[in-house]
C-alpha cells in the first residue's frame, strides 16, 4: 500500500467529517461503500435515439426511443413524423410497460386440458409450427383449405394485412378478416360516393366545424393528429377563429374543447343532421352550383322507366322540420336553427361524424345524413372541406400462381359474410361470423388464427364468440400476452411487442396526407418471441412450395424493403426530415415540396429507417369524377348503389315482388319503405320502453381499446379527468342522480335486459340527463396481473345489436335502469 500518510489523514478527516454530521449533514453517506457499488451504473450511459412507430393503437404515431446503453428508458414523439409532429398520447408513453411487461408470453405455449383452463405448457417453436403446418397440410390434402380462418384485429392499413391476405390466398382460404371496423365504416361513403375510403377533413381551413358525435380528439383514428390541428386552430388570432360545435350525448374530450356542446339523445344524430338540412334547404343556404351539377337525387326525379322517385329535398322538407327533429333528438328547435344558419353562413364549414353517429343500429344511415350535409355545403375538393387521400406508391406483393386447391378454396363463400340478408355492406360482421361457424354454415372452420386485437373482450355476443372459439379444433394466437381471447387458444405463438419488431404502416385513416411509417426494433427481442409475419413466412415454407412462392422473402424486413423500393423509384414525396422548423400549418400549405437527395436505394432505406418515415404532403386536386364513383358519376343523395344491392338481395330471395321486397327490408330491420330507404333518413333505434335511461360507452385516450389495461401507468391514469384510478365509473347527470337517490362516489347497479353491472357513480354535469355512460377498457378477466379484476366491462350488458347495414356493433342502442347498490 503506497498511500501517503498525508492522504490517509485527509481520508480520515473526510470520513470523520461525514460521521460528525457537519453543517450539511448527509447521514446517508456513512453506509456508502456497499451501497455505492450496488447503485453504480453499469455502463457509460451512452444515449442513443431510435425512431419507430408506436403500436399502442392504430393511429401510428412516430416515436423516438431514448436508449441508455441500449436499454429503452424514455419515449417522446418524433418531431418530424408528420402525423403527430412530436406529440404523443398518454398510452404511447406507457409503451415501455408493454415491452418490459412481466406478464408477457415468453415462449410458445401449448394448452393443457380444456380450453380456458389457463394451463399452459411450453413448446418449442419448431414443434409448434410443425404441428400447425401438419394440420394445414392435412386440410389442403382433403381439399378444404377454406376451413382455415384468420382474424386480424389490427385496424391499421399497412403491409401486415397484405402479407396475411397473400398467405391466405396462396393457401386457399377466403376467410381473412380484419375485425377492426375500418372497412365497415366506409359503408356510407360507398353508398353516397362509391368510394371505399374514409374521408379526411380540411379542418385547418374551415371556419366552422360541426361534429356529430365524432370524438376526434380522443376516439378518432389519430387523436394526436387532430390534437395538433386543434392546437393550430386555437393558435390563430381571435379574429376569424374557427368555431367547433360538438353534438354528443356526453362531454367527451372533444366536446370539452369545443366552443359549444349540444347534448343529444343517442341514436338520433341522423335526424338532427336532416333537421339541419331542412333549415339549409329552406333558407337556401346550400351550395346551389354543386347541387345542380354534381348531385343526384336532390330533387324528385324520374327514372328511365318513367317512375318518379322521391328526392332528398322533398323527403327532408316533409319529414324533418325542426320541431319534429327536436322531439326526436332532444335538441331545442332554436338550437337547430342556429347551428344550421351558422353552418350555412360560415365559409367554409365542414361536417364530420363518427363514434356517436355510427355506433348504433342506424349508424350507416345516420352517417349518410351527416355526410349529405357536406354535399349540401358543396364541401368537395375545396379548402376547408372533405377530401380523400392518395395511396402511397408502394409495391404490391409479387403476384403468384395459386394452385388448384387454393383456387377451389378461394372460390368458396367467406364465412363471415352473411348468408341471408343481414348486414349487406359488412366486410366483416362478427355476428355472422359466430353464427355461421356455430352452425357450420356453410362449412366448419378447423383452424383459426388470431392476430392482435383481443376480439372476445370487445364483442357484444361474448358468449357466442367464446363458444365459437371453443368449437374450433385448433385456435392459434399470435398474442404477446394471454388475453381473454387467447385463453381459448390451443397454441400461442408469441409475437414481438412493437418495440422489438419490423413493420410498415401507411396512411392512417382520416389523416390528411400520404405517408409511410417504418416500425423497427429498438432492442433485441427480450424473450423467445418471433414476429408474426416471419412466423407466417416460415409456416408457408413448411406447408407447400406453392404457398411458399407467394411470400418469396427471407424475412419480413426484406418484404418491407421490397415494398418500399417502389417508393424510392417513384421519386414522389420525401423522407421526413428536420430542416424545416416552421409550423405545421406552413408545412401543409407548402406545395412546392422538394424531394430528398439520395443516390441509391440503400441510402434511401438507411435514411428512411433513421428518420422513421416517408410522406407526401402534396394533395392532388381531384376532379369530381374521381370523387364520385357512383352509377350517376355524381354525389348520390339517392343511393343507386344501395338500390342495386337491395335489388340483388331481392333477386336472391326469389325475384322482384312487393312481398320479397318487404321480406328483404324487414329482415334488414329497415323501418321506412319506398324511396326513403335509399335516401339518408332517420331510422328509429329499437329500444325498450320499460328502461328509463340510455346507456352508452366511450373510450379514453389512456386506454382506447382496452389494450392498455396491462400497463400499470395507464391503469393508474385511466380516469384522470374524474380522478378515478384503476377503476370504472358511470357518469350520471346530477339531476338524474338526485332522481334516483344516487350520490357521488357511491356504487350503483346498472341493469339492462342482458345483465347488470356494479359501478361507482360519478356525478357529472357534462352528460345528458337521460343518458348514463361507462368508459370502455377495464373489466378484464385475463390479460395479466395489472388488468385482471380491475373495473367493469360495460360491453357485457350491451344488447346484441348491430348496425343494420354494415354490421358494426351498436354500442349506444341499450337502455338501462340504475339503482343505488347497497
Amino acid at each position: 500500500m503506497e498511500i501517503k500518510r498525508r492522504d490517509f489523514l485527509k481520508l480520515l478527516s473526510g470520513a470523520s467529517g461525514a460521521v460528525a454530521l457537519g453543517t450539511y449533514g448527509c447521514s446517508d453517506i456513512i453506509d456508502v461503500p456497499e451501497k455505492l457499488i450496488e447503485l453504480a451504473q453499469k455502463g457509460p450511459g451512452i444515449v442513443t435515439w431510435t425512431n419507430t412507430i408506436c403500436g399502442q393503437c392504430s393511429a401510428g404515431c412516430g416515436i423516438k426511443i431514448r436508449r441508455i446503453d441500449g436499454i429503452p428508458v424514455y419515449i417522446k414523439g418524433n418531431p418530424t413524423y408528420p402525423v403527430n409532429r412530436g406529440g404523443m398520447c398518454p398510452s404511447g408513453h406507457s409503451s415501455l410497460e408493454v415491452l418490459f411487461n412481466p406478464d408477457r408470453v415468453k415462449e410458445p405455449l401449448k394448452r393443457i386440458g380444456l380450453k380456458e383452463s389457463g394451463k399452459w405448457d411450453s413448446i418449442s417453436w419448431n414443434d409448434a409450427l410443425q404441428l400447425i403446418a401438419d394440420k394445414m397440410i392435412e386440410l389442403r390434402n382433403v381439399g378444404k383449405p377454406h376451413q382455415v380462418a384468420f382474424l386480424d384485429g389490427s385496424d391499421q392499413p399497412g403491409l401486415m394485412n397484405k402479407h396475411i391476405a397473400q398467405f391466405m390466398k396462396a393457401y386457399g382460404s377466403p376467410n381473412y378478416y380484419q375485425s377492426g371496423q375500418l372497412k365497415n365504416n366506409t359503408a356510407p361513403y360507398r353508398l353516397l360516393q362509391g368510394i371505399n375510403q374514409l374521408p379526411s377533413y380540411d379542418l385547418l381551413n374551415s371556419k366552422y366545424i360541426l361534429s356529430f358525435g365524432s370524438n376526434f380528439l380522443e376516439e378518432g383514428y389519430s387523436p394526436i393528429y387532430y390534437t395538433k390541428i386543434y392546437s393550430h386552430l386555437r393558435d390563430s388570432s381571435e379574429h376569424g377563429r374557427t368555431r367547433i360545435v360538438q353534438i354528443d350525448s356526453r362531454i367527451s374530450l372533444t366536446a370539452a374543447n369545443a366552443d359549444l356542446w349540444i347534448p343529444i339523445r343517442p341514436g338520433t344524430y341522423g335526424a338532427l343532421a336532416l333537421g339541419i338540412a331542412f333549415v339549409l334547404i329552406r333558407e337556401k343556404l346550400f351550395d346551389d352550383n354543386f347541387i345542380k351539377n354534381y348531385s343526384f337525387g336532390f330533387n324528385d326525379w324520374t327514372d328511365n322507366k318513367g317512375i318518379t322517385h322521391l328526392g332528398f329535398r322533398s323527403n327532408v322538407i316533409s319529414n324533418y322540420y325542426p320541431e319534429q327533429v327536436s322531439k326526436i333528438t332532444g335538441v331545442p328547435a332554436e338550437t337547430i336553427l342556429k347551428i344550421a344558419r351558422d353552418l350555412g353562413n360560415s365559409r367554409s364549414s365542414v361536417v364530420l361524424g363518427d363514434q356517436g353517429t355510427v355506433d348504433n343500429t342506424n349508424g350507416t344511415f345516420s352517417q349518410m345524413a351527416v355526410h349529405s350535409l357536406n354535399a349540401l355545403l358543396g364541401n368537395f375538393g375545396k379548402d376547408g372541406g372533405v377530401y380523400f387521400v392518395d395511396l402511397p406508391p408502394l409495391a404490391d406483393l409479387p403476384p403468384f400462381d395459386e394452385d388448384e386447391i387454393a383456387a377451389l378454396g378461394n372460390s368458396k363463400k367467406p364465412v363471415a359474410q352473411s348468408l341471408d340478408t343481414n348486414y349487406p355492406l359488412a366486410d366483416f360482421s362478427i355476428d355472422s361470423f359466430t353464427k355461421n361457424i356455430l352452425n357450420d354454415d356453410p362449412y366448419p372452420i378447423d383452424i383459426l388464427f388470431l392476430y392482435k386485437g383481443n376480439p372476445l373482450f370487445k364483442t357484444l355476443n361474448h358468449h357466442d364468440f367464446a363458444e365459437t372459439l371453443k368449437k374450433i379444433p385448433l385456435v392459434v394466437s399470435f398474442d404477446p400476452f394471454i388475453t381473454e381471447t387467447s385463453e381459448y387458444a390451443d397454441i400461442i405463438l408469441p409475437d414481438h411487442t412493437f418495440l422489438e419488431k419490423w413493420d410498415k404502416f401507411c396512411n392512417t385513416p382520416t389523416v390528411g396526407f400520404t405517408h409511410v411509417g417504418i416500425q423497427q426494433p429498438v432492442i433485441e427481442p427480450l424473450f423467445s418471441t418471433r414476429n408474426a409475419a416471419d412466423v407466417i413466412i416460415e409456416l408457408s415454407n413448411k406447408i407447400d412450395q406453392s404457398v411458399a412462392n407467394a411470400l418469396p422473402f427471407q424475412s419480413y424486413e426484406n418484404e418491407i424493403r421490397f415494398s418500399v423500393e417502389k417508393l424510392y423509384n417513384s421519386g414522389e414525396g420525401a423522407i421526413i426530415s428536420e430542416g424545416v422548423k416552421s409550423s405545421w400549418l406552413e408545412y401543409l400549405q407548402q406545395r412546392g415540396w422538394q424531394i430528398g437527395r439520395y443516390n441509391s436505394f440503400d441510402e434511401f432505406w438507411k435514411l428512411l429507417t433513421r428518420n422513421g418515415g416517408w410522406w407526401n404532403p402534396i394533395r392532388q386536386t381531384k376532379d369530381y369524377k374521381e370523387l364520385f364513383k357512383t352509377p350517376s358519376g355524381k354525389f348520390e343523395f339517392y343511393s343507386q348503389n344501395f338500390a342495386n344491392i337491395i335489388n340483388k338481395l331481392i333477386e336472391t330471395t326469389g325475384g322482384e315482388s312487393p312481398e320479397n321486397r318487404e321480406k328483404v327490408l324487414h329482415s334488414l330491420n329497415i323501418s321506412v319503405r319506398g324511396d326513403k330507404v335509399f335516401l339518408p333518413h332517420y331510422e328509429a333505434v329499437p329500444i325498450e320502453e320499460n328502461m328509463p335511461l340510455y346507456f352508452i360507452t366511450f373510450k379514453l385516450l389512456t386506454n382506447r381499446d382496452g389494450q392498455s389495461s396491462n400497463q400499470p401507468m395507464m391503469q393508474e391514469m385511466f380516469g384522470y379527468t374524474v380522478r378515478e384510478y384503476w377503476n370504472s365509473w358511470v357518469e350520471i347527470n346530477p339531476e338524474t342522480a338526485q332522481e334516483y337517490g344516487i350520490e357521488d362516489k357511491k356504487d350503483v347497479w346498472i341493469e339492462s335486459p342482458i345483465g347488470s353491472i356494479k359501478v361507482r357513480a360519478r356525478l357529472n354535469p357534462g352528460i345528458m340527463k337521460e343518458v348514463v355512460a361507462v368508459p370502455f377498457g377495464l373489466g378484464h378477466t385475463s390479460y395479466g396481473r395489472y388488468a385482471k379484476g380491475y373495473g367493469t366491462n360495460p360491453i357485457t350488458i350491451l344488447k346484441n345489436k348491430y348496425d343494420m347495414i354494415n354490421g358494426n356493433p351498436a354500442l349506444q342502442a341499450t337502455k338501462v335502469k340504475i339503482s343505488l347498490a347497497t
Partner: protein, 174 residues
C-alpha cells in the same frame, strides 16, 4: 475517598473516550472494506512503459459523466494471444480474454445515484486533474483498495466553495 471518586471519574472519562474512539475508528475503517480486484492491475507500468494515458482506457472520461472501467474489449487491443510479460496477472487477463468473459472489476469510486456527477464537467470543463480525486494513480503498481477521497457531500461542497463554483443543491442532486 475523594481520591477514589476522582479515580472513578478519571476511569469514566478514559473509558468513554475509548468508546468514542473505537466507534470513530470502526466507522472510518469499517466503511471501506479493503477491496481486492480480480486482477492486480499495474497502472504505473501501463503509463510509463506502454505510454498510455488515462483516456486511452478510461474512454469516456472527457466526454461522458461516467469514466467507465476498461474491460476485455479494450484490454484485448494490446493483450492478444502472446503474453507480454511474465506477470501472473497478465495470465489471468489473457484467460478472461480467451474465454470472452468480463473481468469482474470492483468499483471503488462511485457516487450515490441521487447525485449527478460528471467527469466531463470536472475534467474537460473544469480542467481538474485526475489526481485531485484519484490520487497519484500513475505511481501505483497495484490497484487502490479503497477510495482515496470519499465522495461525501462535505468533501464536494468544500471543494466547490474553494473553487468558487456553484454549490446549489440542484446542481448535483437529482
Amino acid at each position: 475517598m475523594r481520591k477514589m471518586v476522582k479515580q472513578n471519574s478519571k476511569l469514566f472519562i478514559v473509558a468513554s473516550a475509548a468508546i468514542v474512539l473505537v466507534v470513530i475508528v470502526w466507522v472510518v475503517l469499517g466503511s471501506h472494506r479493503n477491496i481486492t480486484q480480480p486482477i492486480s492491475y499495474n497502472h504505473k507500468i501501463h503509463i510509463e512503459e506502454a505510454e498510455l494515458t488515462c483516456v486511452d482506457c478510461h474512454l469516456y472520461v472527457e466526454t461522458m459523466p461516467t469514466a467507465t472501467i476498461p474491460n476485455i474489449e479494450i484490454c484485448q487491443d494490446c493483450h492478444s494471444d502472446e503474453p507480454m510479460s511474465d506477470s501472473p496477472e497478465e495470465v489471468k487477463l489473457l484467460k478472461y480474454i480467451e474465454e470472452g468473459e468480463k473481468i469482474p472489476w470492483q468499483r471503488i469510486y462511485a457516487v450515490p445515484n441521487h447525485v449527478y456527477f460528471s467527469h466531463r464537467r470536472h475534467v474537460t470543463i473544469g480542467e481538474i486533474a485526475c489526481s485531485n480525486c484519484h490520487g497519484n494513480v500513475e505511481e501505483l503498481t497495484e490497484p487502490p483498495s479503497y477510495p482515496l477521497w470519499l465522495p461525501t457531500m462535505e468533501n464536494c461542497i468544500s471543494c466547490h466553495k474553494e473553487h468558487k463554483v456553484t454549490y446549489d443543491c440542484l446542481a448535483c442532486h437529482r
